[in-house]
Amino acid sequence: MKNTIKIERAVKDITQEDLANIISVSRQTINAMEKNKYVPSTVLALKIARYFGKPVEEIFILEETD
């Protein structure tokens, strides 16, 4: 699964730290998701989508291998 968190973050002009604080997770979590090392839980995915004001599918995208 890919995601566009890094792009969305650039659009909003906020740092990993800011986003981590807003959705109350650690900075490691944001970093690992952006590097595609971690697939978040449904709850976290929904929280991120809600903050960016977009549907989950626009931020988290399935890949061929999934």
Partner: protein, 157 residues
């Protein structure tokens, strides 16, 4: 996602202090004093034991009081307590990814622990084997703490 059995983040500094402090005190006593010169002889309750390492002799007692050296006992207890506090206190932000790192580190430490034991059985014999075993007991705790903090650090950048 909440990991069970975790203490507040406040215990973490206490854990570091006990863990590193007791290790340093032990290392200092081993390196700079001849064997058995640092002693804390006290009466303790034993389920089963003797004072074969001291002057009390090797007559074993069950469920009674015994005078013996408790310096190694104190160091080991403080080290284990410190290690457990470190391993089982929450991070500042304890979330689902941290929980995953925690569990992965446990799995890794468990495996490495037994790989080390396997190699010890394979390559060490006699009293040297027993000597190393007393330190081996702490390997899993140490491996877990190192691995977990390494992963936390690695995932920051």
């Amino acid at each position: 996602m909440e990991t069970k059995f975790l203490l507040s983040n406040k215990f973490k500094p206490v854990g570091w202090l006990l863990f590193i402090g007791s290790a340093l005190v032990w290392a200092y006593s081993v390196l700079f004093y001849p064997a058995d010169t640092v002693q804390l002889r006290t009466k303790v309750f034993v389920i089963y034991g003797n004072d074969a390492f001291g002057k009390g002799g090797s007559e074993s007692k069950y469920f009674s009081f015994l005078e013996t050296d408790i310096f190694p006992t104190m160091i080991a207890l403080l080290f284990i307590l410190g290690g457990l506090l470190l391993a089982f206190s929450k991070e500042k932000t304890e979330d689902e990814f941290i929980a995953k790192l925690r569990l992965q580190s446990f799995q890794w430490a468990f495996l490495c622990n037994y790989v080390v034991l396997f190699l010890l059985f394979f390559f060490m014999y006699g009293f040297e084997f027993l000597f190393v075993l007393q330190y081996y007991m702490f390997v899993m705790l140490i491996l877990f703490i190192c691995r977990f903090h390494y992963l936390l650090y690695k995932n920051k950048n």
